[in-house]
Subunit: 222 residues, 4 copies
DNA sequence: GATGAATGAGAATTCATTCAT
DNA sequence: CATGAATGAATTCTCATTCAT
């Protein structure tokens, strides 16, 4: 995942203080993204960027130097959450031999990565069709598709479910309620996720209406 | 200097139909609440009130005459959705002989009433503790409690679920995604609700973590 | 003091119910002017007219039926206060044999008539040059001039003072402080007026700078 | 997730002249206060803040960056006028050997500092009980108390007067008449102040009614 | 005539974004 | 690079005035 944004000055050698600012700058960038995610979760995606900068411990102009506007920052946050969530999907495969256990582990891990925070951003606020994002999202879908298909193949879950169903339900159920620490993620959210997983595991009791979805679909109607 | 305020009754007979002019006013009031709900669903709870007024087809000041500020309008919207949702719960009991079918009918009906639109409002934006709201919320909880208990007693659903679990999961799953017509309520939402219901109906497969919740609990952490 | 505003329908005879609404209407008009004066004193000349109407116990539209706009109402209030103050000046002459005592009585009486409330209105807010107002103001000046000259002639006060000095100082000293009941007119204002009067009575100790003024002068600079 | 907010000190030496950029900012702040005082005097305390900003030559948001709201700006204006007025009281002591001349000098100087502009603000519009203001007001009262007591002790003025009487009368007499350049301060105001001073200097001719006041008292009734 | 409701224009305040140091 | 300050373009809300009953 090359983030070579601005690699122009990479050339080696001396120049003692040339790379130092880089270290700083990179740390700032990360701090800002972290702060932004936290505050989107706590206060919603409308949170003033000046406040994000304050929480990140940098001046507002530094934020704008790194991210041209709110859209750019949102983009990075989405990218970062998506990427880490994908990592969790991959870890889950490795960590659990039982395929449904793997899916289950992923679901809870995704909640901890605040995948729910992406929801409000799905609706505008950044360029859904940016290649970088599309790529990352496909990576996530592939990974989750793997988890789901393995569980189905093993007969461990009902088979009328698509990746999109999992991802959307998962996102919605973990979607933060600004002002309430992420819907009190420990007291409620994991509980509801477990209920959801139990439902996936049980045999189908009805014909699900509507159509299975990919994340992609979500934007279609727009 | 007699300040005989209230001498208006000097004009004898008049005032027969003192409440008539309100026909218009009442319609306006309702139109505003309706427009507000629609726009909260479409654009989120931060939608400019001037836009709400425009959609309602009234001047902005008319909105403010009816609702002192955003909080007051939000209050009314929440009240109205809660109330209609409760009605749906009561209807569901009457309409279905099977207790789980009743719960199921309620869940889908609540989605159509946009119960999910309440989520973003639960986090501030209005006075949670207003007696009027508390009363209405209790009515809703009682009604849903009835649905749930009957289904459990009939052995039609797992028994480790509380009203709050149903209401929170239901609200989250149907929570609107601004910019996407209520998460494309027909293509996805009812599907996910059905999946959720299937999960409720199936026997428990795991011990649910965390604690069951009432809507009340949601505010506790705050 | 003919206030034949709208006397067009004065014609006598029958018409039982023709003059009745008149009585009402007139009372309303007076109530509004009274309420306006009270509220100008209490809250300043920016007080919302709807509030004035409420205090007067009439609908806002009734206020506007009687006074085309804020200027018209202000006009009437000024006229009314000026007129009553003039009456007080005339009464003072009649009531006191000592010329300075008469002036003194007038000064305190003018305070009770809220002559200070005129100050904020002197600065725009209504048409200073309206003939009706000019006439009334001249009447006031004449009356006060009488008081002052008599006191001077009797050797009861310093002679380098003009009517305008008395009226302006009097108005300023009694000018209401919105939010503080007319500068607590009894505890402070009459005290300061007495001090002012004592100063007038004493022999001149210095050459007063500037020029004596008529109320008229006040508008000149504008 | 280290939230080492405050790592700004990573950049070693920097920050030498951290307060330099404030040169501009400070000037702006002062310009705004100056403009505000001028416009309060000219147009009253309700003058639109956007206009104040324009007069100060800054954008409206700059005003709001410096003063959270009208109250905060008013606070600063009051503070600034009070403080300068106190300075004048102290200067007056130094400049005049005769105690009454000192008082007299102060009174005219206070008018030039627009002490009268404080009047409309005394009635709400800012927090009267803010410690900063209370302190500054006490400083003013102390200073004027000194002037008054010295004049009394020297037998140069009547002795039934309190600081509050002087300050209130002084403020009222110099209170600006929006629309009229500070009551044409040179043509009328100094004249009336001189008359007032003459009255103070003369022996008491009557028992003053009411009670002497401190500025503090003015708020009591509220 | 009288009333409550409706309205648009304007004022206060916030915030994304740009600028100067 | 980093920063605090500046800015204008919304947004919320108020109020004088008009309208419909």
């Amino acid at each position: 995942m090359k983030t070579d944004t601005g690699t122009k000055t990479d050339n080696c050698f001396v120049r003692r203080r040339a790379s130092r600012p880089r270290a700083d700058a990179l740390r700032n960038r990360e701090r800002i993204v972290t702060a932004a995610l936290e505050m989107f979760v706590e206060f919603g995606p409308e949170v003033p960027l000046d406040e994000v900068a304050r929480r990140a411990g940098v001046g507002n102009a530094t934020l704008y130097r790194n991210f041209a506007d709110r859209e750019a920052l949102t983009h990075e946050v989405v990218l970062s959450v998506t990427s880490r969530t994908t990592d969790r999907a991959e870890e889950a495969v490795a960590a659990e031999s039982d395929p449904f256990a793997a899916l289950s582990r992923f679901v809870h891990a995704a909640a901890d990565e605040r995948i729910g925070a992406l929801c409000p951003m799905l609706s505008g606020g950044f360029d859904q069709h940016h290649p970088e994002l599309l790529a990352e999202r496909r990576r996530l879908e592939k990974a989750v598709e793997g988890l789901v298909e393995r569980a189905m193949t093993a007969g461990r879950m009902r088979t009328d479910i698509a990746v999109g169903d999992v991802l959307v339900a998962l996102s919605q159920l973990t979607r933060p309620l600004p002002g309430i620490a992420c819907l009190d993620i420990d007291r409620f959210t994991h509980r509801h996720l477990q209920l959801f997983l139990d439902g996936l595991e049980a045999p189908a009791r009805s014909v699900l209406p509507g159509s299975a979805a990919t994340l992609e679909d979500l934007r279609r109607g727009h």
